[in-house]
């Protein structure tokens, strides 16, 4: 009952957030200068063509009415049609989402094990050269602009060594792994340090916890204490951070997608913003928001599974 209720509560909190997002997004778009009809038709279009398009898109209706029309469609699962491509937005999102999704999962698969190992090493050998080395690398990794790194890696691994493809998404699972390797590494290099620092700090914090002393007093081996007690407790804050990072990742791949020519959501959004393709921006924003909320929810449920105190 309590867990179900807790879940229900979280889900009901979701609705106003999504509604708020749609309102803010809509308002923001109203404020952006630039008439989508003109931008899409280009500078050579006649005023008549622009007017015809505005009329077709309903851009001359009052903002509130536009919003209501839009939302009533959204509720029926219709995110409208892209102004420039004249293709359903949902189709575009579904086409682009797998790339970003695969990339996000790839980054997680690369970053989490490495971050775990480095975080544990740094905490275990705190104050030694191992710790200092990991720390220096972390600082460097966090500081390196993603696009800068991406360009360097492209030159080295794709052109000079020819190990990895420059661009695209590839065919099949292995193809995806191969094509997305460099993009995933570019993001991981930034993400691993964030996780390592957090994990190291929580392990250090947990390893002086009272229950560790109690475990030693019981004669448990250090290894057992570390794996069964410290790591589990230390994983909680890192898990929460991880949720935030994954949410960030979904929207934070714009530059990487740009540099590696990946047809993902970031690129779709980038083009839509520059091209004033309102339906895409709105649809994607709702999609992003939904993804963020779902990820947060999953993180919460996961920490609930680890930590019995969460939903008491």
């Amino acid at each position: 009952m309590t867990r179900a209720y807790w879940l229900l509560q979280r889900l009901t909190q979701l609705l106003p957030v999504l509604l708020g997002i749609s309102v803010i997004c809509f308002a923001l778009l109203q404020m952006i200068p630039g008439d989508p009809a003109r931008i899409i038709l280009g500078s050579r279009a006649s005023p008549e063509a622009v007017a015809a398009m505005r009329d077709r898109l309903g851009l001359d209706q009052p903002a509130l009415q536009q919003y209501l029309t839009y939302m009533s469609k959204v509720i029926r699962g219709d995110f409208g049609e892209s102004i420039s491509y004249k293709v359903p937005v949902s189709k575009l999102i579904l086409e682009h989402a797998p790339v970003t999704g695969f990339l996000a999962v790839y980054v997680i698969a690369l970053a989490v094990p490495i971050a775990l190992i480095l975080g544990m090493l740094a905490a275990r050998y705190r104050g030694t050269w191992v710790d200092h080395l990991i720390r220096m690398l972390s600082v460097l990794g966090m500081t390196m602009p993603v696009f800068w790194l991406a360009i360097l890696m492209l030159r080295l691994f794709s052109i000079d060594l020819g190990w990895f493809p420059v661009s695209g998404y590839g065919q099949g699972f292995l193809g995806h792994l191969h094509h997305l390797f460099l993009p995933a590494v570019s993001i991981s290099i930034w993400m691993i340090p964030v996780l390592v620092r957090n994990l190291r700090a929580s392990i250090v914090q947990q390893s002086v916890a009272d229950y560790v002393l109690a475990g030693r007093a019981k004669g448990l081996t250090e290894r057992h204490i570390f794996t069964h007690h410290i790591l589990k407790n230390a994983s909680l804050p890192t898990l929460n951070l991880f949720g935030v990072l994954v949410a960030y990742l979904i929207g934070g791949t714009v530059i990487v997608e740009l540099v590696y020519a990946l047809p993902g959501l970031g690129l779709l959004m980038f083009n839509a913003i520059l091209g004033r393709d309102y339906p895409i921006i709105q649809g994607l924003t709702l999609f992003y928001a939904l993804a963020t909320v779902v990820i947060t929810l999953v993180t919460d449920i996961l920490s609930g599974l680890i930590d019995p105190r969460v939903k008491a």
Binding site: Q13, P16, V17, G20, I21, I24, L28, M31, I32, P33, R135, S138, V139, L140, M142, T143, M144, P145, V146, F147, W148, I151, R197, N198, A201, S202, Q205, P237, A247, Y248, I250, G251, G252, V254, I255, L258, G266, M269, F270, I273, L274, I281, T285, Y288, A289, T292, V293
Partner: protein, 283 residues
């Protein structure tokens, strides 16, 4: 009165005489950049925006410490002058959201109630937007430029501070020393700003260092996709982007601003680390 032997305890507190090493190094790097930025006109040999079309793409050496760019401007001069802009973006892009966020978080956390619930929804909503996408959208809406970039960063960034401060305040407001000053009959706002706020700031300051790095990287990222500062302003990200078409023949145009950004970022990271250690905050 034997108990009046002074016991040094291990409670949190700033001990000025034992600054962590990484903090010292970080401060040195950041202060060096601040000095360079302030003294830019006196430490650089040229006008950062002066074109010399007869001396374009000259390699480092005779034509200048870091060579010249595609319109003959001195790269070293521009790297130094760019520090002014990047440091300003980092500073204002953190201070503005910090001020908004801290104020919102203080009131929301301390007074609670409907305003708090509303604020938290606003925070949820803002956080549901991807950071970079939102900044990108706002900059696209307002037009590129340092001022608009800072506005965009403030509009997006304040929520992190609000959440952080709110969480701290919710703990602090139940601390006995807050109860104690309440029983002394002080004005609520006085208590909030004199007692609650100073004690809630440690994690904020530590986060601000990380945030400054994030802000500078975001600014550089926008510069990279061409929506950063207005030309001819020198800015590291924009300089890196400007140098891209010339990477084969004039690597120095992009490399030096890149190194500058990285060195400043390292300085910030080290300060963040050091402060976290000194203030005993886990970031």
């Amino acid at each position: 009165m034997s108990e009046q032997v002074i016991e040094m305890t291990s409670r949190p507190g700033v001990q000025a005489d034992e600054l962590p090493l990484n903090l010292k190094i970080g401060m040195a790097v950041v202060i060096a950049w601040v000095l360079l930025a302030v003294l830019a006109p006196w430490v650089t040999p040229a006008d950062p925006n002066a074109l010399d079309l007869d001396n374009v793409l000259q390699p480092p050496g005779a034509a200048g410490l870091m060579g010249t760019d595609q319109v003959g401007r001195d790269v070293f001069t521009r790297v130094v002058f760019a520090a002014r802009i990047d440091l300003w973006i980092g500073f204002a892009g953190v201070v503005l959201p910090l001020l908004i966020g801290v104020t919102a978080g203080l009131f929301s956390g301390y007074f609670g109630g409907a305003a708090d619930a509303l604020l938290m929804r606003v925070v949820d909503i803002t956080l549901a937007f991807p950071f970079f996408v939102l900044v990108l959208a706002i900059v696209a809406a307002l037009g590129p430029g340092v001022g608009n970039l800072i506005i965009a960063l403030a509009l997006v960034g304040w929520v992190s501070y609000a959440r952080l401060v709110r969480a701290e305040v919710m703990v602090i407001r139940n601390a006995e020393y807050i109860q104690a000053v309440r029983t002394l009959g002080f004005n609520r706002f006085y208590i909030l700003f004199r007692h609650v706020m100073p004690n809630a700031m440690a994690p904020v300051i530590v986060y601000a260092m990380t945030d400054m790095l994030l802000v500078i990287l975001a600014g550089a990222g926008l510069g990279f996709i061409g929506l950063g500062v207005q030309p001819p302003t020198a800015e590291w990200g924009a300089m890196i982007a400007d140098g891209q078409p010339y990477i084969e023949e004039a690597w120095w145009i992009s490399l030096f601003p890149g190194l500058a950004a990285i060195s400043f970022g390292i300085g910030l990271s080290l300060i963040g680390d050091g402060l976290a250690r000194m203030l005993r905050v886990s970031n």
